[in-house]
Assembly symmetry: C2
Homo-oligomer: 75 residues x 2
């Protein structure tokens, strides 16, 4: 079974940023796909599909590793 | 003797963009250094120091190779 989670990430501005975030998130265990709806200068929606349930802490760490900030998806 | 030229490049938004442009320009023959004053969402000033005189056509090609647009520096 696949799990899908969408989170908001700030600070992403271009395709290189998309690549960086996608690369870091893809390294998380169980991740099958990462899709980014880039909103340069605002919050980008990042959707992650995985075989395992991901917690926001590990997603936040991966996003930070890429150099960006995970923003609460309740915002 | 060193030559210095400053050109305007549009479309650069982040440090990755700076790296891409710097990398392509550094590959040009004679280039010693590349400095970018990033202006995300506007024109970024790119200053190139080289031992040989560079023409704007080769600079424009390198910038395009990185995925950005050289704008006339008379503008």
């Amino acid at each position: 079974m696949s799990h899908t989670i969408t989170v908001n990430v700030s600070g992403m501005t271009c395709g290189h940023c998309v690549n960086s975030v996608t690369e870091e998130l893809t390294e998380l265990k169980g991740v099958e796909s990462v899709t980014v709806d880039l909103n340069s200068g605002g919050l980008s929606e990042v959707t992650i599909t995985s075989t395992l349930t991901l917690d926001s802490a590990e997603i936040g760490e991966a996003v930070a590793e890429a150099g960006y900030l995970l923003v609460s998806n309740d915002a």
